[in-house]
Amino acid sequence: MKYELVLHKNLKTPGYTGSLTDYERLGGYQAIRKVFKEFTPAQLTDLVKRSNLRGRGGAGFPTGMKWDFLPKDPAITRYLCCNADESEPGTFKDRELIERDPHQMIEGMILAAYAIGAKVGYIYIRGEFVYGARVLERALAEAYHAGYLGKNIFGGRTGIDLYLHIGAGAYICGEETALLESIEGKRGLPRTKPPFPATHGLYGKPTVINNVETLSNLPHIVNRGAEWFASIGSPPKSPGTRIFSVSGHVNRPGNYEVPMGITLRALIDEHAGGVRGNKKIKAIIPGGASAAFLTEGSLDVKLDFEAIAQVGSMLGSGGVTVMDEDTCMVWAALNLMEFFAHETCGKCSPCREGSSWLVQIMRRIEHGHGKMEDLDQLVRICGGIAGKTICAFGDAEVAPILSTLKHWRSEYEYHIKGKKCMVGNRGVKLVAIGGH
């Protein structure tokens, strides 16, 4: 299948360093010039709305519509935040965009800030991205130096300052309101919504939070038009390309920018080089750890928001993890459950208490101390969490267990009855609980 790279175009160009000069040479910072000449903020918002761009951070919310929720009164201070906290297991696309083409994202931020009338924007980057932060710092300095950023840009029409805010290790800070709390110097605890950030965000002011990849799309939409964007990928609801981070048991793990709508099978076989050792695929997580596991029966599902939702999972962050036939599903679900139990912020009761409860039961099952009643108990606990928590973390953390139980219940039962693992190379060691 032939298609054109959009977000990866620059960074796949040989010799491209991501410097300002390189970026400009390949047409960078033309979009803001165009916007400055041709668009009012409202017109820019409208353009993005017409492009049907949807958020790439996880929830897939239409970007233009999100901007439109902000109060119209220009006297109210508003903020832009770039979510560069990328911590969703299986996802590493933003990291590459940051490290290799920082100006694309910065230009996107300038556009977004202009559209929503923000004078200040913060880039919330996860603390582990030490290299990425350095790259961004340098790129920001270049952009300031070139006059793309500062108190007086767009010919004096506005001023936009962008600052880097470096996290310190907390997955939950990727959740947009936790991110805001974190910038405010507090623990990264999600806020109860409503009110939403659009009206009560950073410092209580109207705020837009957009993902790195979402923002990186903006210069292209401006340069080539809403219609162009709306027509590529899987229109009308999932237009554009998507960067999928493919990992796990594939021959060529990595980030692949493809038009939305290609099948999982095509992504895995044609781009990621197929499964290692020519093994059969057992399970695929299509959108990061928060997305439900799919079986190989779903390999021909199109990778777009709707199609993936129809088979009971979600496109999420675009992190595609592939597991071959030798992978134990109890083990895999436990691995992710441990991730969630470690990362729950602890603010709301179901998530705080439920996550570790689930881990304890899963560990018992994995280590051969399970009981058949545990399976119903798992489902019951998951039901007590899903839909009852402050943020979407609660729904996410139950996805691995519920989906593996749904598709591979026999594997759980085998663990319980046989006190050992069903798949060959992973004999259950009967270790004491907590011996991990």
Binding site: G346, C348, P350, R352, G384, K388
Partner: protein, 909 residues
Amino acid sequence: MSDTVQVKTDTVKLTIDGREVAVPRGTLVIEAARKLDIDIPFFCYHQKLQSDGNCRMCLVSIEKMPKLQVSCSVPASEGMVVHTGTPVVTDARKGVLDFLLANHPLDCPICDEGGRCPLQDYSQKYTGYGQFQEEKRVYEKEYFSPLIEKEMNRCIQCMRCVRYCDEVIDSQALSSVNRGFQTEIGHYADKPLDCEFCGGCVQICPVGALLNRLPLYEYRPWMLTRTETTCAYCADGCSLRLESRPQTREVIEVTSFWGNETKSVWGQGRNEGDLCAKGYFGYQFVNSPNRLTKPLIRKEGRRDSPLVEASWEEAIERVAEGFGRIKTGHGGSAFGALASARCTNESLYAFQKFVRLVLGSPNIDSSVRYGMVNAARAMTELTGLPRWLPSYEEITQADLIFVIGTDITQTNPIAGLKVKAAAKRGAKLIVATPLRRRVSTLSNIVNRATRHLAHRPGAERAVAIGLVRAVMEQGSLAKEVASHPSVLRLRDTVLAITPKQIESAAGVAYDQIESAAGEWVEAPRAVMIFGESILRSLDGYETIRILGDLALLTGKLIAEGSGSAPLFEENNELGAYEMGVVPDGLPCLGRTNNESDRDRLSQAWKEPIPSGPGLTMIEMLRAVRGGKIKALYLMGENPVGSLPASAGAAEALDAAEFVVCQDLFLTESGRKADVVLPAASFAEQNGTFTNQEGHVQAVRKAIEPIHGTRPDWEILSQIALEMGYPLEYQDGAEISHEIGRLWSACRPAGPGWRDLPKRSEQTGAEDRYLDEGLAEGISERYRLDPAAKSAAAGNGRFHLVIGPVLFHSGKMSLQAAGLMKLMGEPFLYIAPEDAERLGAAEGDRVRLRSDRGQVEIAVKIDAKYPPGMVFFPESFNEPPVKDLLTIEMSPASQVPVFKTAEVMIERIS
């Protein structure tokens, strides 16, 4: 959620479980449900706090919303349809309880919260017991603080404690430590809790995770008797609840009222349920082993023989005989009488009546003399009343608050909370104080200031003059007064003072003062609050007048929402003043030198009253030493312990022929008395206290008087009877009635005793002040003290200030074991710069020297104090720092001023 309750003009209608209800816009669904008496269970919600929505217990289903919603966070909206009892909702509640119980120990049998714990109640209602069969989380048990016990295994992580500490108290002393499943409550690092110890976290914790250590494991809540009463410490006048065991006459603990948890017919009190350390942890003086429980008399009747226990009959007889002898021999004027403003209105009223009618003496005074009278006099001249016109509510709602001459969060913590609440709401806050900005877990009002006038210690008057000058110069006078001849005179006087002179007297840049004045003028609702640094200063009366002038000139003296608020220290100072326990005043605000006041009183009492005015406290002591006064009657007042040695109180008591001292404890003065009578505390009697705002609040008997003690009024009755005078009362209520009747008789026009003054009733007073008061003594009042005490530290010279602190109040708190755990010994507070200069580290001992003597004391370094100033908590007499002070008399009010001294300090190596 006071924060979101802004202007709620319009209402919305919603339907909850099929019933319609109209509520103000912004009302949360959980609150709307309560209006219908629909009980939605909750843990983390609290009406004093911002919604946090963390426990998820209050989930309800709302039509047209995809998921269950937390009713504690969703505001009601028009047409909303809510269901609180569907199977889905009930299931969700069960689920949440299951999670909360998972790691909660089932140690209810030994948990002090057992029986008043919503976790127990809801468990009983919704589940039975949890489904959890894994290993429970166990937190390491750690020592948390001397007064607050932490039992983290019981914590349900609702964060009410932390949120209360942050949002309401602003102490920011609690932290939620760690993350996720390991979240717990802490201070910082492994430090034991160091904070204001308001006890709010203990009270607001729904479960038994934070507990009062004082009565730990001592009781089951349902076995305690609850008595709603008024705190006996400061004049903020908090309502609280004594939880007692009447059988053993013990007060076990204190709680207060937070509307959504306790429905009190008495309301939540002026404190809205908040308390300070004294209120919450300071109750144990009631059951202190040091309480006097037997009358004491001199063995052989002579002063040099020891005090020995006696029966009440014997003691009363002695008193009656002694008083009788002196009255016959020397007449009424040979008596001096001093009372404490901690006593109830009823006892104070009975006391002055006893002194005036039975002893026939005009020489009566009380602890209001230490400073409160300055405010009472000035405020009465300005507004016609010593009571406040602004209320706590108006402070909270003000646009601007001007705080001067008080470390309000230490001296009057609840009034301080109102100021903090206003600042949080966005009110401007001008704070004039030499204290510095310093964020710590003890709140400091300067930290919240939007403007800080950092004046020199003791220069409040210069600041006030500066403000009046700036207002005059800016020409921003209220229309009604602008052209009054007195105002024009005042104008000439203040404009003759140069900004330079003000700067050098106040130590504040004049443009700061100008800006502050501008803000004061502009604020529609502006309240000024001032306290002991002014009330207890030599020119306190003048300064309060000047501040009053400022309010008057700018139209804010009696305007709705604005006004002046003097802070009082002891719980019933206003009451003592209003009961006439002053030599120049009579009960019901009469004046001794006012003929008609005297007439009305003698008519009501059906007896003539001694001609006055009598002597003030210091005058009395002098008169005893001079032989004119032969006998002293002290009710709760302890001049020997309260005054510096140079006041000569000890000598006076020695010189007196006959001294009777009636108190809870054997005080320094009591040791010198001929008869000591053990009195009952506030927990043991009925009566009233009048808080500084003027609310006459109930004091209710929680326990019978500790064996051997009697209420003050009862003792007075008995002495009177013994002396053949029928001053007989059955109980406190009978006296209250008499006060009420007398008040109406003496002040037929004004508000009744228990009524609060209305502003509309005060306009006459303002006009009178304009015509008669304002011009009086202008040049005296507006004189800058050229020798404004300089605080320049140099050559080891320091400006020593003594004053009240948060954890103590007078001497009474020294008998409260809980408070002694917080501050069991005094330190000298010193700025870090000074400590460094002296080479003194925290805890090092220094020697303080004034021309009156020297003492040694350990230092505590606190950057709140400016260089050159050192501070000593006045409740302590050991070491005798007080004796370094000189004592001066305020000419206007005969207030004995002993607040400051110039001292030399050196480190003891």
